[in-house]
């Protein structure tokens, strides 16, 4: 029983650290995408502008991933706290 609880706690911690890592990667990629948007827009070409628009959307979707990771991490935290109370 005690061993199971320890394993579960370790699993929670693993999920949380991985979620934090995904969140950081998403944030970094989002920043890179934002820079690409600026660079592509500066070229002043219609096709490149359309690519920039798609990059911008990708940057926002990475922002969405960041928020999902944050929310999941908070939920895991809550579960961990609740389970440690029992």
């Amino acid at each position: 029983m005690e061993q199971n609880k320890r394993d579960l706690n370790q699993t929670y911690q693993y999920f949380q650290s991985e979620l934090n890592r995904i969140q950081t990667i998403a944030g970094t990629l989002s920043t890179i995408e934002d820079q690409h948007v600026k660079d592509l827009t500066n070229m002043g070409d219609d096709k490149l502008n359309q690519m920039a628009v798609e990059e911008q959307s990708a940057a926002r979707q990475l922002g969405e991933i960041k928020q999902i990771c944050l929310a999941m991490s908070q939920k895991l935290d809550e579960i961990q706290k609740t389970s440690s109370l029992h």
């Binding site: 920043t31 959307s57 926002r60 979707q61 922002g63 969405e64 960041k66 929310a71």
Partner: protein, 483 residues
């Protein structure tokens, strides 16, 4: 050759215009085409044509895309840029645009942008290709699209990464095998352009694909009832919400036409435990609704959002239950203002439809309206280029979000969801009192004094007294004072 043709055209145009002006100048009003101008001015050109349509058919004309009246005074709200007191957001900081609907649901719904595609049904409103095009656009930008009052269409489900489905008064999406495929469930009790009025589509206008999605028998009409089947009491509604939440885990919300009874309706929604509330203002669109339902019924979106947001705040539920605004929101400014008033996200219908047909409307003009590319059973729905339409909608949503982000830099905010009503001022004293948004005419420090004086002025106007007199002064006291 071209010159000769051009000169000839000019000569003909000149002759025609000269003759027309001569006739307008000489003919009596009763024989004069100009008669239409004062009549159109008196009743309005839209009312004039709708009178003619009613007289031709004897039935209410089904006006597309909602009321033409812009009830919500969005233009009377302005954002407050910052410079020194608070600083603008640095240009190298990204503005967060993502939003979560129903954060307390077992499976909350997170989107990249707070702009979603409104409920427009397959069959009842749009063609299959239009619905697929919208679903593709939503997936490209990372937002949700809505089924509208319809059944579950396989192609739409496949094309949409995030699909919000309407548990509807027709009952076409209300079985577990269908609603369990959704990412959020919106219980549809009414809409801005029609309230809770029943609607019927005659079997003759229903094709095989429509029947298949709706589960209709051949020859059967499709009927949207005024009430949800099986929900005739408040308790039954509460039980339904609980059942859907337990069955699916996805956010379960309520969509209503905004009304003056808003708070009473929301109280029941709160008791039921909904995860989100969609308020559809009086400016809400529709495929076809009688003009009276569109123009003379409901509460404008601005007031609906403001009141709903205040209600949730009073209940301590702001942020716990998501608020979605819809109905006549067409510009990024409108959308951000709705968010500043308390909406977490915004549904777009008419604006998205116009973007969908966008540069393809040349296929219909000048002989057919642009919507004939996208409406079910319209003349040239086959001509719609699905991918081009999706790209157009994607571009619109991207540009709108970008403009909302740009305002955030100037407001010193780093997220669209951080924009609040403190970031706005208004030019309308009544709107200021009703919404709590400060009045732009006077400095924040002088607001109270201004409104005290404002009330005195109002009172004095009513009593026909000078504005500086205190409100309790009666005419008799005034006369004594003068003596």
């Amino acid at each position: 050759m071209l010159n000769i043709f051009s000169n000839l055209t000019r000569k003909i145009a000149n002759e025609v215009v000269d003759k027309a002006i001569e006739r307008i100048a000489r003919d009596q009003y009763t024989e004069n085409l100009f008669e239409m101008v004062p009549i159109a001015k008196k009743v309005g050109p839209i009312n004039l044509m709708e009178i003619v349509m009613r007289s031709a058919k004897g039935v209410p004309p089904g006006r597309p895309l909602g009321s033409h009246i812009r009830f919500s005074p969005w233009e009377k709200l302005l954002f407050n840029p910052v410079h020194l007191d608070r600083f603008p957001t640095p240009e190298d900081v990204s503005i967060s645009t993502s939003v979560t609907i129903g954060k307390n649901a077992k499976k909350p719904l997170t989107l990249s942008i707070p702009l979603m595609i409104a409920g427009m049904s397959f069959g009842g409103a749009l063609s299959k290709s239009a619905k697929i095009s919208l679903a593709k656009a939503a997936s490209m930008i990372g937002t949700a699209t809505n089924t509208g009052e319809a059944g579950l269409m396989r192609e739409e489900r496949e094309a949409a990464h995030v699909l919000i489905g309407q548990y509807n008064r027709g009952g076409w999406l209300n079985t577990p095998e269908k609603y369990k495929q959704l990412d959020a469930i919106e219980i549809q009790l009414g809409q801005g352009a029609q309230g809770s009025t029943p609607q019927r589509t005659a079997a003759k206008n229903i094709g095989e694909d429509y029947r298949e999605v709706y589960g209709l028998r051949e020859g059967e009409d499709s009927q949207i009832r005024s009430r949800l089947p099986g929900v005739d009491t408040k308790e039954q509604f509460i039980a339904l919400v609980q059942e859907l939440k337990a069955d699916t885990g996805v956010p379960v919300g309520l969509k209503i036409a905004a009304t003056h009874h808003l708070e009473k309706e929301l109280q029941i929604a709160v008791e039921a435990g909904v995860d989100f509330i969609t308020v559809d203002g009086a400016e809400g669109g529709t495929h076809a609704s009688p003009p009276t339902l569109e123009d003379d019924l409901g509460l404008p979106t601005l007031f609906a959002v403001s009141r709903a947001s205040k209600f949730l705040a009073r209940q301590g539920l702001k942020g716990e239950i998501s608020l979605i605004a819809t109905g006549g929101l067409v510009t990024p400014g409108d959308c951000l203002k709705a968010m500043a008033l308390g909406a977490d996200a915004v549904y777009l219908g008419t604006a998205v439809m116009m973007a969908l047909v966008g540069d393809q409307m040349t296929k219909t003009l000048p002989f057919e309206p642009p919507t004939s590319l996208v409406v079910y059973n319209a003349k040239i729905t086959d001509a719609l280029d699905i991918d081009r339409g999706a790209k157009n909608v994607f571009n619109l949503l991207n540009a709108m979000t970008k403009e909302m982000e740009q305002v955030c830099y100037s407001l010193g905010r780093t997220s669209l969801t951080d924009v609040s009503q403190a970031d706005m001022c208004t030019l309308d004293p009544f709107l200021s009192i009703a919404s709590g948004i400060e009045l732009g005419y006077v400095s924040p420090d002088d607001q109270q004094a201004f409104f005290n004086q404002f009330h005195l002025t109002q009172h004095a106007n009513k009593m026909n007294m000078p504005a500086h007199e205190p409100p309790s002064t009666t005419r008799q006291q005034e006369e004594q004072h003068l003596n």
